[in-house]
Structure formats: structure tokens, C-alpha cells
Symmetry: C2
Subunit: 503 residues, 2 copies
């Protein structure tokens, strides 16, 4: 006798939410690991995390769950929300089941080894110490792509993990556009009178930096009753429910930009997490649409809002109150321009919002070749340096500031980097739409009124969780697919103001 | 074909250490809950903790584990350490299996309800709001005692959970001794010239309080590479392995005693956790002997060392450097005496180390009667106030400073309080022995040389984990069973110095 759909759906949410409890517990352990854990705690923390991960994985790939979710996907009387959850869960299940338990275990082991090798190689500033481990990792990722299956390009199978439906076919034109349009823009900027960012490199004590960062987050609408900010070596956002969202930041007393932009960036991620529907806790509709959409939220706040002239009309007098001596000779205008200085540089995470996309594109080109086998991992540094010289006109002097700078490959995260560029482009397109939908948005921002924008994002993006793919969401919000030209127009407008150039 | 003992033992440690991973993960979530969690995080945190707890419980009460541990307990070729682990695990298993899953769930649900009722009742300062929920809890605890079984007194079954082998038969003489001997001591102190603790109640800013606390912990030997201290509303110690031990403390700028003694007390707990054998992670021999022994470590450091004249010969000049203005007119002698002021008071956690035992005794008397049914929960406040007046000569004016002050009953922790007194008494007896075993211990302490004492505790207590019961440990360390007279002699000596009384 078939059980009724209600009962089945309850069984399904019970199981999925239990798995979510475990995964969120892992997130707490991970957060503590990066913020407060004493050094000797690392070894046992790693095994505790591994145990939790394998328990959640076991639950979500069990035959019992498979049977339940298959049965439920045939149930006639579910509402739209329930149907969306079930459809997405079935997709996840089928995807997860494509990997054998042995493969998952081997990948997990290789990830630990590869991460340690990366740490050691970085310390010694020597890529050759990382190469053998990375080669093994790439072999596993190729195997994984085969297990997942793909239509056109093995890299598509890996991309899909971070950005559903993203493919080489979709990304190649985007990065080709960057290759064509970005150099034109950069050339004009290079020929224009340069902008200084010296005002960020004065002495900014830690405490007022922190206090101003918190002020900014509050003004953005981050709910400190449902989240907090702490210090960590690398800023990140994590959440343990939509009512407990953790941001981290770091402080450099001689580079105020470091903390300021990380606050706004992570704040954007955090607002998305706080805006996910609480009643969908642990279910697909309670989680973010994709990494690209997540990044669109952080970059919209960081770049479109945070580095805008409008925002600093409101915030700059407040900032000056925190740093009266340091900023007494700097105008809001100078500060705005300094915030948008463009200069080719070696380190991705410190790049301006324009040259940033070359950093991503270089990794994208390299990853595709690594996955197809066209590029031998041992030739990576040479390839890296060649591409940096070609696109940015500079080349790293060592591996640390070059090929060893990012952690991602050691984690096996191939296909992740493109979401950074997608995020920026979605951000520009969404922000363009927001200006159409919200009356006088820029004026509002210049008065510090950020609530209308947050409410718009809540309504257009946050509340939907994973209900729509990135492209569906984009279509729905802006009436068209992702259009990179929105980004280039946004950039042209900004740099016209900053550098006085005409495009 | 029977598997060999090695294989069985490996299966056993794998399972037990996996359960430990989950329980330690719960501890991380619990720690965060008390230190950093934003208020709106509470609801989902509770469900995450419940999920982890039930998973660990399931593993440790499964038939599969039972079969394994029974088989292993018959294995011929285990070494002593392995045998001890297996014996203790079998005891735990059989004890856990006495409770039905339905009962465990009901108890867990009632604990949440009872805790919330306690919070509400405390807020309203009205015991009657707590009484119905507490009655249900007591009924469950009676049922639990029956399930566990006992020889003489139902309370014995509950005591055993916190202090193995502790019974009413063992505790009655101890508390009767307190009833007889303590009033004599208190009377003499009352008649002697009084000691002031005004020097603790000056204005002590937060930062130097914290910094001095950390200095003290370092001097005690607490390893900050394998642990840390944070703030919380109520100080506590927790650990996620012997290499990651967390202490918390609180600061009152107008009562320096609050932070100072909590640092030393929790530091004592923390040193025990750091001293547990790392290679026994997750196994019985990797955990503490009992709550009483745990408390002996915190009280030995707090009272026998921390409130000694000797220690402050070393530390007082350092403390004065942190607070030159506040303490310029106070001598080390005055500070030592202030640290040991005796005065009957209403709140257990703020009591001096002498009257403290009346607080415990009163709860012990009440708990026995609640469990047998001799005392109706609704008559609790009257009984409470009567006993406070009888033994301490004061009675609370309201429930908040009386019967509602402790969280324990709302957690269902009946049989827990006596471990506080046992801990003090073990501490005095151990410290007496340490002075015999370590040459010039007091002189060493007065020079700040605390390592010999820590090494002695490591060797005599910490490294054994749960291998011995409290009483076995006591016998082994001091050559005799727990002897409350050691405490009274220790107290007589201390108060002779503080109050100039002769006993």
C-alpha cells in the first residue's frame, strides 16, 4: 500500500534536515578552526570533520533515501515548493551516487595530502614540491568528470558542481569577450592621469577600523542578532542556519583597503545567507542558488555599491570621524577614486575589479588544459608566467606570488574560479536592473538608505533559495540571459568618472 | 571462526572514536553557544545538538556494538590498558542499555521543557512556575533510578552516573561530619576580628584583569597552543581533545575576585583535560576519572594553591604592577586574607571555601528526599529557606537568590552536587600528599615554581584517565580512602593564619 505524499514528504524533510544538522555542525567546527582553534587542535579537528562529513554523505547516498526520493518524485499531490525541493534533491542524489564510496574516500584522502603539499610548497616557495600531489589530484578530477559524465567537454562535468548548467560552450565567449574588451579599457586607463591610493596606506589602528566596519555592515542591514563578525587569516562567510551567519575579516594597519572591502564583500554574502527562507532549513530551497549567484551578492555590495561615489557621499564624513588625522587632507572624491585605482598586479585577491578578470581567465584557460591533459602539471609555472605576462604585462618572480597563490587546486576545486567572474557580471546586470526598479536608487545610496536595495535583493534573489538556476534567475530578474556587456558598460561608466576617460 | 582480538579491538576503537568525534563536535557547538553564538542562533543550534547526541547514543547502544564489546570482554590476549578500556566500555554499555530509547527521548524532551521553565521562573522570580515541570522531571529521575537499579537507596543509582560507587551510605557520614565540625569552625571565625575583602571591590578595568589571568594560567602550566580562554556568562571548561581545551571566564570590573578565581579554578580543570593521555582519544582511559576527581583538580588549584599565602608571595608584586593605583595601599598579607574571607551567603557559586559545603549539603539533603518522595516539590522553597536559616543563619528573600539559583535540577542533574564537596575533600587530601611527595613544595610555590606540582598531578591523576575509580585513585595516591579530616585540618591551618584562631 503506497504511503501518502504527506507522510513521504515528512520522512524526506526529516532525513534531509538531519543531514543538514550534521553539515551545519561541520560548518561550526570549520568556522572555529579558522577563527579560534589553538594550533595543536588541528589534528583531531580534521578527524572530527571527516567523521561528520562521511556520516552526512552516507545518509544522502543511502539506498533508503534513494528509494524515498524516487517514490516522492512520482507523488501526484505536492505543491510547487515541495516539487522543487524533491526535484533538486533527486538531482543531487543521482549526482552523488555516481561516485563510488571508494572514490569519495580516495578523493578526501588526496585532498588532505594535496593541501599539506601546497602548504609545504608555499613555505619553501617551490612548486616542484606540490607538482606530484597536484598531478594525482588532477588524475582524480579527470576520473570524477568521467564518472559524472558530460556532453561536450570533461571540464563541464566539474563546472556543474559549482554552477549548474555552466559549460565551456557558455564560458568561452564570456572570457573571449574579456580578452577583447578589457585590454582596450586598460590601455585607456594606463594613458590617463594616474590615481593614487596612498590614502589607504597610512596608519589606521585596528580598533576604529573594526568599529567602522561594523557600522558599515549595520547600515547594509546585516542582522547582528542573527550573525557576527570575527577575525581570521582569510576572510570568509559561513552559516549554521539563516539565523546564525558568520563573517570574518582581517586587519592590516597599513592597508585600510584590506579590511574595508572584505567587510563589504563578506557582508554581501552574509545578507544572502540571512535572506534565505528559514522555513526551508536544510532543504534545497533553503540554500543558495549557486556559487556564481552567491558571488553576485558579495560583488554587488562590494563593487557596485561599496566602491561607488554615491555611497561615500554618505559614509566618508563618518569615516573621517574615525580617522580625523589620517584623512584630514583627503576629500570624498579622492577617497572614491583611490577605491577604484586600476593597476595590473600579481595577486588575485588584491586585484582591482577590472584586472581581476584576467586572473580568473588565466586560471580558467589553465584548468581546461589540465583536465583534458593538454597541459602537464609540471609545466604549470612556465605557462602561468607566460599568461600573466601576456595579459597583465607582469610576471611573478617566484611561485608564491604566482602559481602557488591560491588554495583552490589543492582542495581539488577545479571549475570554481569561473564563478568569480560570473558573479561580477551577474552583479553588474542585477545592479543595472535595480536602478530601473528602485526609484532614485543612487540618490538613496548617497543618503545611506540601503534598505530598498536589500529588500529588492531579498525579493528578487534571496527568498528563492535554489528554486531557480542562475540563468533562470537572471532571466526572471532582468528579462534576459547573462549579458557581459552590462559589466563593461558599468565599468566604462565608473572609470569615466575615476580616470576621466571616454569610451 | 572467531576473529582475533587485535581485529576486534580495532573495530571497537574505531566505533568508539567515531562516537567521540560526534560528541566532541557537540562540545564545539556547546562552547560556541555559550561564547559567541548570536541570540537568534539558539533554535537551530538546539536541534543540531539534539541530532548529534542521538546519533552518538544510537552508536553506543546498538546491538552491533553490544555484540562486539561482549565478545571482546572474553578475549584472552588483551593488555592491561585494553582490558581496562573494554571493561569500562562494557559497564557503560550495560548501563546505557538499561534505559529504553523511549525513555531517553522523553527525558531529553523534559530536560528542554524543564530548562525553559527554569529560565522563565527565574525571570519572574517565581518558583511556582517551575514546580510542575520539576515534578515531572523528578518522576522521570525516580523512574530512571528504578531502571538502573540499586541496592540500598534509589539516589545511589543517580549518584553513580557522576561518581561511580558513591552512595548515600558513603556520603551520609561525610555530610554529618560537615554538620558537626563546620559550625565549630564558623563560630570561632565569627568571634575573631573580621577580615575585609574591600580590596577586591575597587575599580579593576577589564583588560589588565584579563592579562593577569592569562599570566596566572601560563604560570600554572596551561598550554595555550593546546587551548584558549574566552568570555562567557558562566565560566566553564570543555575540551575537543586533550590538545584543544577551552576555558571561559567572566569579568566584573567591581569585583576582581570573580575573574581571578574562575581563571584558576577552570585552569585546574583545563590542566586535567590537557593531561589526559592523547593516545586514548575517545576511549575510557582518555577521559576523566569522575566528576569528583575533576573537581579535585580545579579546587586544588583554586583553593590549596590559588588562595595560599605562598602563591601570593610570588604573584602579588606582579598583580600590583597591573593595578598600581588600586593596590598601592594593600600588602600581600592583606590580599591573602581578603582572598580567604569567610561569610555565610546565599549564592553557592560565590561562597567561601568553608561555608560552600553547607550549600552542597543542603542540596544533598533535599535531593534525597525528592527522590524518595519524602519531599513534595511544591514545598521546596519553604524547605530550602528553613535549611539555609538553620545552617547558615540567613534565608533568601526570594526564589532567585534561593531555590532557583542553580541550573542543575532543570537539567535533571540529581546526584551531581555532592561531587563538589567530594572534589574539595579529595583536593585537600591530594595536596597534603603532594607536600609529602614533593620536597619544599610550599617554598617552590612561593617562588612561582608550579611545574613540580603539575608534574605530580600528571603522574598521579591525569595520565590514568578513567583507569581507576575515585576511591582507588585516592587509595593509590595517599595510601588511604577519602578522609574528610584532611580537609578540616587543611581548613584549620588556613584559618588559623587568616583569622588568628586556634583550633
Amino acid at each position: 500500500m503506497p504511503r501518502n505524499s504527506n507522510q513521504l514528504y515528512t520522512d524526506y524533510t526529516t532525513l534531509l534536515q538531519k543531514a543538514a544538522d550534521i553539515n551545519y555542525a561541520s560548518a561550526v567546527l570549520g568556522w572555529d578552526q579558522e577563527t579560534y582553534m589553538p594550533p595543536k587542535g588541528a589534528e583531531y579537528r580534521a578527524r572530527q570533520l571527516a567523521t561528520l562529513a562521511s556520516m552526512a554523505h552516507e545518509m544522502l547516498t543511502s539506498d533508503k533515501y534513494g528509494k524515498l526520493i524516487h517514490e516522492l518524485s512520482q507523488a501526484p499531490d505536492l505543491n510547487d515548493t515541495e516539487k522543487s525541493n524533491v526535484r533538486l534533491s533527486l538531482e543531487d542524489y543521482e549526482r552523488n551516487r555516481k561516485l563510488t564510496p571508494e572514490f569519495v574516500e580516495e578523493l578526501s584522502r588526496q585532498t588532505s595530502e594535496c593541501f599539506n603539499a601546497w602548504i609545504a610548497a608555499r613555505k619553501q616557495n617551490d612548486f616542484s614540491l606540490f607538482a606530484p600531489s597536484l598531478s594525482k589530484m588532477i588524475a582524480l578530477k579527470r576520473q570524477q568528470a568521467e564518472m559524472y559524465g558530460y556532453k561536450a567537454h570533461p571540464y563541464d562535468a566539474l563546472l556543474d558542481e559549482y554552477e549548474k548548467d555552466a559549460t565551456v560552450e557558455m564560458l568561452d565567449p564570456i572570457f573571449n569577450g574579456i580578452k577583447q574588451q578589457l585590454p582596450v579599457l586598460l590601455k585607456k586607463i594606463k594613458e590617463a592621469p594616474q590615481v593614487s591610493n596612498e590614502c589607504f596606506h597610512r596608519n589606521f589602528p585596528k580598533e576604529p577600523q573594526w568599529a567602522f566596519g561594523i557600522d558599515v555592515l549595520k547600515q547594509m542591514g546585516f542582522d547582528f542578532e542573527a550573525g557576527r563578525q570575527d577575525y581570521s587569516e582569510h576572510p570568509f562567510t559561513t552559516s549554521f542556519s539563516s539565523t546564525d551567519v558568520r563573517l570574518t575579516t582581517r586587519v592590516d594597519e597599513h592597508n585600510y583597503a584590506s579590511m574595508l572591502w572584505s567587510c563589504v564583500h563578506e557582508g554581501g554574502h552574509g545578507l544572502y545567507e540571512q535572506g534565505l527562507p528559514e522555513e526551508q532549513y536544510g532543504l534545497p530551497l533553503g540554500s543558495a542558488a549557486s556559487l556564481g549567484i552567491h558571488e553576485s551578492q558579495s560583488r554587488l555590495w562590494e563593487n557596485c555599491v561599496g566602491r561607488s561615489h554615491d555611497l561615500w557621499k554618505f559614509f566618508y564624513p563618518k569615516l573621517q570621524k574615525y580617522f580625523p588625522d589620517q584623512l584630514k587632507d583627503i576629500t570624498a572624491e579622492t577617497f572614491f577614486k583611490a577605491s577604484n585605482r586600476v593597476e595590473p598586479s600579481l595577486i588575485r585577491t588584491e586585484a582591482d575589479e577590472l584586472t581581476y578578470h584576467f586572473h580568473v581567465m588565466i586560471r580558467y584557460e589553465i584548468e581546461k588544459e589540465l583536465i583534458t591533459g593538454a597541459l602537464d602539471p609540471k609545466d604549470l609555472p612556465a605557462k602561468w608566467n607566460e599568461l600573466y605576462y601576456k595579459y597583465l604585462g607582469i610576471a611573478p618572480k617566484d611561485d608564491k606570488t604566482g602559481v602557488l597563490q591560491d588554495v583552490h587546486w589543492s582542495h581539488g576545486s577545479f571549475g570554481y574560479f569561473p564563478t568569480y567572474t560570473l558573479g561580477s557580471f551577474y552583479a553588474a546586470q542585477f545592479f543595472d536592473q535595480a536602478q530601473k526598479d528602485i526609484k532614485d536608487l543612487k540618490e538613496k545610496i548617497s543618503r545611506g538608505e540601503l534598505t530598498p536595495l536589500l529588500e529588492w535583493l531579498r525579493d528578487k534573489v534571496h527568498k528563492h533559495g535554489r528554486r531557480y538556476t542562475s540563468e533562470e534567475l537572471c532571466q526572471q530578474i532582468t528579462g534576459q540571459k547573462l549579458d557581459p556587456q552590462k559589466f563593461f558598460r558599468y565599468a566604462a561608466e565608473k572609470y569615466r568618472e575615476v580616470y576621466g576617460i571616454d569610451l
